[in-house]
Subunit: 327 residues, 2 copies
């Protein structure tokens, strides 16, 4: 790759991630098309003075076979990403929603936990033959509000959904997004809420066919996924406002890990949370500050969500960041 | 467990599976309650002369940590199970639908591939304020038919849905189902379409907390899941009509593996299919026969589904089976 030789000289560590991405993670065939779409979306909104946030959401699928039957996955319903997207749009942002196929989608939380068929009924009793199907708003009291907002957002072209399933797709699409958004400088925020695998099996070591159980117990040897936050912050979108997420099950190591991530990658903030309490408590950690965001019982009763607090905290910080950059 | 001692003497291999189930796979706390529900459902329908099929559907989750962030999974949308459930109910069966949480549910296929919000609209144009939300049947032309059938099925109490997420839940609930259905003898069919993991990490070898990527590459050592088909056929529901599924990516080994499964477990049939062609071609293998079921281009155009053919083949075979048993 002669066109990369200068970069290779300048920053061998980062370029080796680029090389690894190209070699060991299959490039999705539509990546260039998606990149153009994202760039057009970003410049359109930036020209109108609107900030753009790239939200990643959901878990990544790590295939164990190239014709995939088995895979590794990460716990994530996509609830935090979907909910945050709504609050960002309420705050005037345009949203690129890079999400796992079939993970939660903005404005669908109101019916995500029920079978939609239980919320539908024929108009007029005993009138199945009339054929008109309506939503039973006793089952789904918030559907009209959600639908209205969804339609406004669509009309205003405020939401650009992009799907991934595998880790490879996620990595390449995130890189494309970062390069696409670099054009709008500090107006771009990255809100990296997806639950990304730390481990993978390189294509070269992957069996083609389904692993046979008749061969006995399974030994898996997984490589470490390159830390893509590093080239994202340094090379791909160096002027952007970048937020990563840290989820642990052990609260005692959480803040230390968050601080170490900030030291290593030099981005703007880490949203730190513990699996069991993630809907009621997070800490937003920046190089200088540490803000605890809490949902009290009272808040929960009033259906206040922690994502509203997280987004409010980060949009304020993004304000200051843009001012400091002289943007 | 003194109450098991007789069984241990009589059949050590099978009982060792029972023991393994109890020791290495966490028992879901609601298993007894679910078992009673299934037994009541089965005897109610059998008393009315109705056959009962237990359908398993979707993939199983295999946790890598006890506070689970990462897990192994098997490819499966649950489409085959959900679709088959509909055809079984059309054929007069009552259905226990043991399915992975959030996998496809009967009668929801019509809207499973779209965002439901794109199929909803306010009644009357520009009348968001009126607040009545209706389904746009230009987007979802089959919704009225599906809803009508869903409501009939609910009214007739023909469908008992039971959810699992993890492999442990699946194994214990399947055992409970088999024991619950044994009371109705040959009137019960087991249609084991779920994509069940062949490998797992025993609770005793599982770390409590999220595996740290800072410890370097990951070596996983997975045990083999006990072959639950063996005690199911021999001990738990010995009179039932049992169908297992075999999915491979390599067509050349498929039929041989299906025949070997029949030899080993002595059940009634294997539905054999290859990942890439599974919606257009399956082979139903029995000890004496081998039936190829095919969806032609013409069939596909007419929206004929292969599950209709599979269910038709198996309900006929179940007829004969019941007659032979003198049932």
């Amino acid at each position: 790759m002669p066109s990369l030789s200068h970069q290779v000289m300048a920053n061998p560590r980062v370029s080796s991630i680029d090389g690894k991405l190209a070699e060991e993670f299959a490039v999705p065939c539509h990546v260039d098309e998606v990149k153009e779409k994202m760039a057009a979306f970003a410049s359109l909104h930036a020209a109108a003075g609107r900030r753009v946030v790239l939200i990643t959401s959901g878990g990544t699928k790590v295939p164990l076979e190239s014709r995939t039957v088995r895979f590794l996955d990460n716990f994530s319903s996509g609830r935090r990403g979907a909910s945050s997207a709504e609050y960002f749009m309420d705050s005037g942002y345009a949203v690129i929603f890079l999400h796992r196929h079939r993970s939660l989608y903005p404005y669908t939380r109101v019916f995500s936990t029920i079978n939609m068929l239980d919320a539908l009924m024929f108009r007029g009793e005993e009138e199945a033959s009339s054929g008109e199907v309506v939503v039973n708003q006793q089952v789904l009291p918030n559907i009209a509000k959600a639908l209205k907002r969804y339609q406004e957002v669509k009309e205003g072209n405020l939401l650009l959904p992009i799907e991934f399933s595998t880790l490879s797709e996620y990595l390449h699409l995130l890189k494309a997004a970062a390069q696409a958004l670099s054009a709008i400088g500090p107006m771009a925020m990255f809100y990296l809420a997806a639950a990304v695998s730390d481990f993978y099996i390189p294509a070269s070591e992957m069996p083609e066919h389904k692993i046979q159980s008749s061969n006995g117990p399974l030994q898996l040897s997984l490589n470490m996924v390159p830390k893509i936050l590093s080239p994202l912050v340094k090379d791909w979108a160096p002027q952007a406002f970048v937020i990563s997420f840290k989820l642990e099950t052990d609260a005692s190591i959480l803040l230390d890990k968050a601080r170490r991530a900030l030291d290593t990658y030099r981005h703007q903030a880490v949203v730190a949370n513990v699996l069991d309490s993630r809907r009621g408590y997070v800490v937003v950690v920046t190089p200088e500050t540490q803000a605890e965001l809490i949902i009290s019982e009272e808040d929960a009763k009033n259906e206040v969500e922690i994502e509203e607090r997280i987004v409010s905290n980060l949009t304020s910080a993004h304000d200051k960041f843009i001012t400091q950059q002289g943007g």
